[in-house]
Amino acid sequence: MTATNGMNALHPAGNKNHGTGPAAGPGALKRLASFPWWHEVILAILLICLLTYAGSVAPMFLRPGVQIGLSDRLWNVALLALPMMMIILTGGIDLSVGSTMSLSAVVFALTFTHGAPLWLACVAAVATGLACGFLNGIFVAWVRVHPLIVTLATLAAFRGVAEGISLGRGISGFPPGFQAIAHHNILGLRPEGWLFIAAAAYTAIVLAKAPFGRYLYAIGHNEMAARYSGIPTAKMKLFLYSLSGMAAGAAALFAVARVDTARANLGYGMELKVITAVVFGGVSIFGGRGNIVGVIMGLLLIYETREFISWQWNNDNLISIIIGGLLITSVLLQVALRAGKTAQ
C-alpha cells in the first residue's frame, strides 16, 4: 500500500476510482488521505510561505530581474537532477556528477587552449561527460558493482584526473561569444533555463506516459521481476548513467561560461546538492517512488531558501543548517504521509 504512493502519483485519476469504491462511506476524509499529491502540495505551500515572507521583508528579492540573475545557480543543479532522479528511481545513485563536471570543464579548456575551435572544445566536454557516465554505467550494469561504490570511486578518480591534467591551475580567456551563453537571456530566461524546461517536460512525459518510464519504476521496485519481464535492465542503466554524465558535461560548459574559468574544483559538492533536491522532492532513495513535480518543487524550495538567506543575511552556515532542517522535515513528512495511508 505504502509503496504504491509514487505510482499512483503518476495516475491520480486512476486512484480516484478506488477512493469512490464501496469503502467511500466516511467519504471526504478518506479521499483526502488517499490523495496522491500531498507531498507536492505541502512543498508548494512551504514555497509560497517562504516567498511571501521574503516579499514582505525584502521586496527587491522577488523582482523578476533579480530572480533571473540569481537563477544562474539553480539551472545546473536542476539539469543534473533530471537524470539523477531517474537513476534514483531505479534504486541507484550517481555520486560522480560533480567531478564529471570538473573533468569536462578541464577537458574543454585544454582542448580550446590547444588551438581547437570552440565548437570542438564544447563537443569534447560533452563527450567527456558521456564517457565518464558510460564508464559508471558499465560497472553498474554489467560488472554489477553497487552504484554507490562505483560512483564513489569515480567521484574521486574523475576529479583526480581533472586536477592532474590541469595541474591544479585555473584556465580562462574564452571568447565573449562563449560567455554569452551564461549571461544573455533568451525570452527573459537563460539558455540553460530553457534547456532545463524542455528536458523536464520531456522527462515528465516519459515518466508518466512512456514504457521507458514505467520500466524505471518496475526496476526500482523489483529488478528481478523486471528482467523476467523482458525489460532490458542493464541497457537502461547504462543509458541512464551515460545520460547523467552527458548532462554533467553540458552543465560544466554553462558553469565555465559563467565564471570564465575552468578549474578542477568546479562542481565541487554538486552531487550532494542534486541528490538533496531529488530526495527532498519525494523520490525514494530505495527506488520505485517519486515523480517529477515533486522534484521540481524540491529544487525550487531549496534554491529559493538558499538564495533568500544569502540575500538577506549572507550567511553560508545558516543556509546549510536550514537546508538540513528542511531535508529532515521532508523525510518526516514522507513518513507521516505513509503512516496516514497505511492507517486508512
Binding site: 514504457p211 518496475a218 523482458g230
Partner: protein, 526 residues
C-alpha cells in the same frame, strides 16, 4: 506415542476468537470468525487463497488489529497491541518466509530481541545463548551446528530454528503457515514428528496447509474458512477429503484430476538440442509441439528451472541449440525470445513474477506495454482494457485493477503472472511450478486454463514437482535427474512410480504424506 483424537475437547480453550472481523477497503477479509484452540491439539486451518487464513494468522500474531471481535486467552479477553504483545501471550508464528536474519547464527536468531545479557546489560551472554539453544534443539531431537549462519542451512533446519525460537518464548500456541511448502519428504517426516511432540507437551498448534494428505495425517480438528467466514470446525474423523474440498470451495470442482484431452502434436514449436551449461545441466534435448503439454518432472535441484531459464534467455548456456518457430534462437536474449512468441511464468512469483507494489493493471501490462503504447505513449484506456480483459479471462479476484498486486492472494497473484504473459498471446508458454502454494479452487481453474490454451494450439512446457499434476495435465513427460534428462514417458498409462524411478538416483520411494517429490532442499534459483 499415543495419538489423542479430540472429538470435542473438554475444558477451557487456550485461545478463543469470537466474532473477529476485518476489512480492507470494502473487502471483508474476515467477517465474524469464531475459533477455539485447545492445549495439545493440532488444529488445521483450511481455505482457498483469499479465504482469510493469512488475515486470521496475522490477527493472532498481533500484526493486524481486527475491526471487531474479541480474543480470549485462557478465558480472559485480551487485546494485542502488537507482535510483542502476542508473543508475550505465548503465541508463536512460524512464517513461510522462515528466519528473519539469515546472516546470523542459530543463537542469534533464537534470541533476537530478547538476548540474555550480563554485566548490567552491556554485554550479550553468548555462553548462555549457546547453552540454551543447544538444549532447545536437543529437546526437539535435532542437534544442529550452532555457530553456522542460518541462511546456509536447509529449509527444514531453518524451520527447526523457528520452532526453537517459538519454544524459547514459552509459547503455548504455535501457528505454522504452510511449513512444508518447500520441504523434502524426509524433512516433512521430521517436521511431523516434531509437531506431534509439541502436541504432547500441550502446545496448541494451528496448522495451515494446502496439502490435503498432510491435513488428514496430522490434525485432530479441522476448521474451514471460506470468503472470510468460518464454515465450520470438524473432528478429523467426521470429514473426508472430498467433503473438505467442497467446503473450502463452496461448489463442486470440475474434475481437476481427470485426464484431459490428449492432444496430438501438430508440429514442433520448440526444439532444443544438446543444451549444456557446466555445473547446471548437460546435453538437454527436447521438443514441444503446438497444442502439446510437455511435463517436466524431477527432484528440486535437478536443473529443470535452469533449463527453462536458458531456453527463455535469462541464462546463457555453454553450448547447444534452441530452435523456436523453425528458426534458431540466439542464446541469452529474453527480448528475442519474447518477440518471437515465448513466455516464461517463473516459479518465484513474488520476486521474479510480479512487481508486488505496482498495481494489478501495471503488472498485467508489464510484458505487453508496447502493445498498448502506440507511438511510444502508453494509452491509459488501452492499458485498462487489456487488464480488464485478463482479469475477466482468468477470473482474477480483485476489487480494482488499481490495487497493488501485493494485496491479492497467492492464487490470484499466480493468475496475474499467467495473465501478464497471456496478454502477449505467446506461441510457447513455459510454466515453472504453476500451482505452487495455490489453493485447490484456483488450482482447478489454472488446470482448465492450461488445457484450454493447449487446445487452442499453444505449446506448453510445464515444470512441476506435483506428480498428479504432471500426470494428469501432460501429453508427454520428461524426467530430469541431476542435470540430465533421464527419461521420457507418454503420460497415458504412466504412474507416479514410473516417474519416480527415473527421477530418483536410488531406489524409488513414494511418500504417502505428500505428492511432492523432492530430494535436496537446494535452491534452483541461480
Amino acid at each position: 506415542m499415543t495419538e489423542i483424537t479430540k472429538d470435542a475437547p473438554a475444558g477451557q480453550p487456550l485461545i478463543r476468537l469470537v466474532g473477529i472481523a476485518k476489512s480492507y477497503g470494502g473487502v471483508h477479509a474476515l467477517s465474524g470468525v469464531n475459533l477455539d484452540l485447545f492445549a495439545g491439539e493440532i488444529h488445521s486451518l483450511c481455505g482457498e487463497n483469499g479465504a482469510g487464513k493469512s488475515t486470521l494468522i496475522k490477527t493472532l500474531g498481533g500484526s493486524i488489529k481486527p475491526d471487531r471481535g474479541e480474543i480470549f486467552i485462557n478465558g480472559r479477553p485480551t487485546a494485542f497491541s502488537g507482535v510483542r504483545a502476542s508473543e508475550a501471550a505465548g503465541i508463536g508464528v512460524i512464517h513461510q518466509e522462515l528466519v528473519a536474519f539469515p546472516h546470523l547464527d542459530i543463537p542469534d536468531n533464537i534470541f533476537m530481541g530478547r538476548e540474555p545479557r550480563r554485566l548490567a546489560g552491556l554485554y550479550l551472554d553468548r555462553r548462555r545463548m549457546l547453552r540454551e539453544s543447544a538444549a532447545l534443539l536437543e529437546s526437539l531431537g535435532e542437534p544442529l551446528e550452532l555457530r553456522r549462519s542460518v541462511g546456509g542451512m536447509s529449509v527444514a533446519q531453518q524451520q527447526m530454528v523457528g520452532i526453537a525460537r517459538a519454544l524459547s518464548q514459552q509459547c503455548r500456541v504455535l501457528i505454522m503457515d504452510e511449513p512444508t511448502a518447500s520441504l523434502s519428504e524426509r524433512e516433512t517426516a521430521t517436521l511431523f514428528r516434531m509437531v506431534r511432540q509439541l502436541r504432547q507437551r500441550g502446545v496448541a498448534i494451528l496448522y495451515v496447509s494446502h496439502r490435503m494428505d498432510e491435513i488428514f495425517a496430522l490434525s485432530d480438528r479441522i476448521s474451514v474458512l471460506r470468503n472470510g467466514a468460518m464454515v465450520g470446525t470438524f473432528a478429523r474423523a467426521d470429514i473426508d477429503q472430498p467433503q473438505l474440498i467442497r467446503l473450502m470451495v463452496g461448489r463442486e470442482l470440475a474434475q481437476a484430476e481427470a485426464p484431459g484431452r490428449r492432444h496430438a502434436s501438430t508440429g514442433p514449436v520448440l526444439a532444443v538440442r544438446g543444451l549444456t551449461k557446466a555445473g547446471f545441466y548437460e546435453d538437454i534435448s527436447l521438443t514441444v509441439g503446438a497444442g502439446e503439454i510437455v511435463g517436466m518432472a524431477g527432484l528440486i535441484g535437478a536443473g529443470r528451472s535452469d533449463v527453462a531459464k536458458s531456453i527463455f534467455g535469462l541464462i546463457k548456456p555453454d553450448s547447444g541449440d534452441v530452435e523456436f518457430m523453425g528458426a534458431p534462437l540466439p542464446h541469452g536474449s529474453v527480448r528475442q525470445a519474447m518477440r518471437r512468441g515465448m513466455a516464461l511464468a517463473p516459479e518465484d512469483r513474488q520476486h521474479a513474477g510480479l512487481v508486488l507494489p505496482m498495481t494489478v493493471e501495471q503488472n498485467l501490462s508489464m510484458a505487453a506495454l508496447k502493445s498498448v503504447s502506440p507511438w511510444g505513449i502508453t494509452r491509459k484506456k488501452k492499458e485498462r482494457a487489456l487488464a480488464a480483459r485478463m482479469v475477466k479471462d482468468l477470473s482474477v479476484k480483485t476489487a480494482a485493477v488499481t490495487l497493488p498486486a501485493r494485496s491479492l492472494s497467492g492464487g490470484n497473484q499466480q493468475k496475474l503472472v499467467l495473465g501478464k504473459w497471456l496478454a502477449r498471446t505467446p506461441k510457447l508458454l513455459i510454466l515453472d511450478e504453476p500451482t505452487r502454494g495455490v489453493d485447490v479452487g484456483a488450482k482447478a481453474e489454472i488446470y482448465q486454463l492450461i488445457r484450454r490454451l493447449a487446445a487452442d494450439g499453444m505449446a506448453v512446457l510445464m515444470i512441476s514437482s506435483d506428480l498428479p499434476e504432471v500426470l494428469s495435465l501432460s501429453d508427454r513427460i520428461l524426467v530430469m535427474r541431476q542435470g540430465r534428462i533421464s527419461g521420457e514417458l507418454p503420460a497415458a498409462g504412466a504412474t507416479q512410480e514410473d516417474v519416480l524411478k527415473m527421477a530418483m538416483p536410488d531406489a524409488p520411494q513414494v511418500d504417502p504424506a505428500t505428492n511432492i517429490i523432492t530430494d535436496s532442499p537446494g535452491e534452483e534459483i541461480v
